[in-house]
């Protein structure tokens, strides 16, 4: 992290639904800072906000769609990606962003995630990982670390969590990064970069959940988790995704892990349309 701070004077109110504030998120929650990074990234990217569609699933992070002043869709649990697939293929000129939580994208939506990555759908996924289901009151999920406490793992979690960047990279994502909400500037740039880059871009964002996961795991304040990020995180751009799994003892590896080129699904669709048209003209 940089040691200098620059106070900026820019208002991003035009990208927020101010008439919906205050929001529902708890004090110390990581979702708000991540949304802040996202809307600054929209500005950084120079993209026309009218052409950005944001899709969320269900859960605390699923509520993001309701606070951004963009065409935004609050869909069903786990289904943001296939809904976004329809948006992208219906109008390939849109810049489609999926902003949702770890439970939504990796558990109930896990099948959609690997297939959207495999197809290289042209969209950017911001996955806010707070290691538990917040909206329903703090249950374990597919990213909850081994041995962590939750309201459905009161004796400690016995499941091994996903290494999320490894999963999406193996599935075919062409851009994979991980940041924490402490890495506000890197996260903002990363989101902007991902939005501009064609193809399936996935950013895992670690964020505190002091009310539930934090309280049950010795980080009762948002700042506790932020200190934890500061102590444990190591920036390793280009790290092999298989080495970035999150464990209780190890470091939290952050950075940009994958940035490759591969034809997007829409580019492939155009090939099909061209072939069909050629047949028509035979």
């Amino acid at each position: 992290m940089t040691s200098t701070t620059k106070v900026e004077e820019r208002t991003l109110d035009s990208l927020l639904r101010l008439d919906r504030l205050p929001h529902i998120w708890c004090p110390g929650c990581g979702i708000g800072p991540a949304v802040g990074c996202f809307i600054r990234a929209v500005e950084d990217s120079g993209l026309n906000p009218d052409k950005i569609a944001l899709v969320s699933g269900i859960g605390c992070t699923g509520r993001v769609a309701g606070y951004v002043k963009l065409d935004s869709f609050h869909t069903t649990h786990g289904r943001a990606l296939p809904f976004a697939t329809g948006l992208n293929l219906g109008n390939p000129d849109l810049n489609v962003v999926v902003f949702s939580g770890d439970g939504d994208l990796l558990a109930i939506g896990g099948n959609h995630l690997i297939h959207a990555a495999r197809r290289n759908m042209d969209m950017t996924i911001i996955c806010l990982n707070n290691f538990n289901y917040g909206m329903t009151g703090g249950q374990m999920g597919p990213t909850t670390p081994l041995d962590a406490r939750s309201n459905t793992s009161p004796y400690g979690n016995i499941e091994y969590p996903f290494n999320v960047p490894y999963l999406v990279a193996a599935s075919g994502a062409t851009y994979v990064a991980r940041w924490t909400v402490l890495h506000a500037r890197q996260l903002e740039w990363s989101i902007a970069e991902a939005m501009i880059k064609p193809g399936f871009s996935f950013i895992e964002v670690l964020g505190p959940c002091p009310t539930l996961y934090g309280r049950m795991n010795k980080q009762p304040k948002g700042m506790d988790t932020m200190h934890h990020y500061q102590e444990k995180s190591v920036v390793k751009n280009g790290a092999d995704p298989k080495d970035v799994g999150i464990t209780a003892e190890g470091p939290i590896v952050v950075g940009k892990f994958v940035d490759i080129e591969r034809p997007t699904f829409w580019e492939q669709c155009k090939l099909v349309i061209d072939r069909a048209q050629a047949k028509k003209n035979e």
Partner: protein
């Protein structure tokens, strides 16, 4: 074939293919699906034909994803559909509800096979009729059409898109394996643009636009994504702005409107055909492939001197309750043949209650009715 790649002429094709061609004639340019017997031919035809007319076919990872992709595509302004059968239909129910809640025009064809569960994948059934009405959770109204021939597969798919665009609701095509797989003559006319309905677009400025402020007919105009409206839509109970509204009042207002926009327009939506009902003392009320079998039975009954008629339901949802109530005044009984153990018969019974008897001719699936069983029921009813 016309210049734009849309078919025109007389063809010999099966019902599934006719459904796909009906969709293309209706202006459908997006299909998301997952292979399932006996609906696969719809997807196969779409994968060949959509790129030909500049549309997009995408094969999703399952039917849940298919339904969602269809909804997403519809919000870009495209006419969109999917096709499936029983097991896939079950998977689509969650997001059929999202389609109802977001008021998203789209068409879902269910080429029914016999269930429950995997049942008889390659053989006919009509067991999803109540699921069509009640399959997603919560209180809502839906439109469901039932074709009985490949020609109707073509014609009613166009009707389905028109109703869907008009009322901003997913429309179900409740076909079945027999109709989907039978090949017959299908006449495909050139469809004039004025025969196709397109969703009503916002008529005010972008600043004033409220996504769920209905016009007088209870249907809100629909913006499409990317045009600068910057709208928000949610599966949560919402107000006219599209914002979540967690109150009993908002729930009352929304759920009533979602149902009433269909209920109050029943006359425009409901379709049926009648054969010799004027003097009938027994009416066979049937739909889909069973209506074709019933036609034979009614003809035979007439030949034997019985005053029998046929009411063929073309829409099953909303149900033709007013017409059945009227006919109940005149007939001794309704005979209801279905390829299930009694679903639509419950609706007929409800409408005929106290006025006329109702006889179910149940057939569990795997084949269609023997017309003799329907004739036998007519004879019993006359007695």
């Amino acid at each position: 074939m016309s210049e734009n790649g849309v078919l025109c002429g007389t063809f010999f094709m099966n019902g599934d293919v006719a459904c796909a061609e009906g969709a293309i004639s209706a202006g459908c340019r997006f299909f998301a699906g997952y292979p399932i017997t006996p609906a696969t031919e719809v997807a196969e035809r779409m994968s060949e034909r959509l790129p030909y007319v500049g549309g997009v076919y995408v094969q999703m990872e399952d039917e849940i994803a298919s339904m969602n992709a269809v909804l997403g595509a519809s919000w870009t302004g495209r006419k969109a559909m999917t096709a499936t059968s029983g097991p896939g239909f079950s998977l689509m129910m969650e997001n059929l509800g999202l389609g109802v809640m977001l008021e998203t025009p789209c068409v879902l064809a269910n080429v029914q096979r016999a269930g429950p569960s995997t049942g008889l994948p390659t053989l006919v059934g009509q067991g999803d009729m109540m699921q069509a009405r009640w399959g997603s959770h919560g209180s809502y109204e839906i439109i469901a059409l039932v074709p009985s021939s490949p020609q109707e597969m073509f014609d009613l798919t166009i009707t389905a898109f028109n109703l869907s665009e008009r009322y901003r609701v997913p429309v179900l095509m409740m076909s079945d394996e027999a109709v989907g797989h039978m090949s017959e003559k299908v006449v495909i006319p050139q469809i004039a643009p004025e025969e196709l309905v397109n969703r009503r677009r916002p008529h005010g400025g972008q600043e004033q636009y409220l996504p769920y402020k209905p016009d007088e007919d209870l249907i809100p105009p629909m913006a499409i994504v990317g045009e600068g409206y910057r709208f928000h839509v949610t599966g949560l109970t919402h107000d006219e702005r599209g914002y979540p509204a967690m109150t009993a009042e908002a729930q009352d207002q929304l759920v009533r409107r979602l149902a009433d926009k269909i209920r109050l327009n029943k006359k425009d939506i409901i379709r049926y055909e009648e054969v010799e009902v004027e003097d009938a003392e027994v009416i066979v009320c049937a739909y889909g492939i069973s209506a074709r079998i019933a036609r034979l039975a009614v003809r035979q009954a007439r030949a034997e001197g019985m005053r029998a008629g046929l009411l063929q339901l073309i829409t099953v949802w909303p149900f033709a309750e007013d017409r059945i109530r009227e006919l109940a005044q005149q007939v001794k009984a309704f005979v209801v043949p279905e390829i299930n153990y009694g679903q639509i018969v419950l609706e007929v019974e409800r409408c005929a209650a106290g006025k006329a008897n109702t006889l179910l001719v149940a057939h569990m699936g795997g084949s269609v009715h023997d017309p003799q069983t329907i004739l036998q029921a007519i004879k019993e009813a006359v007695r």
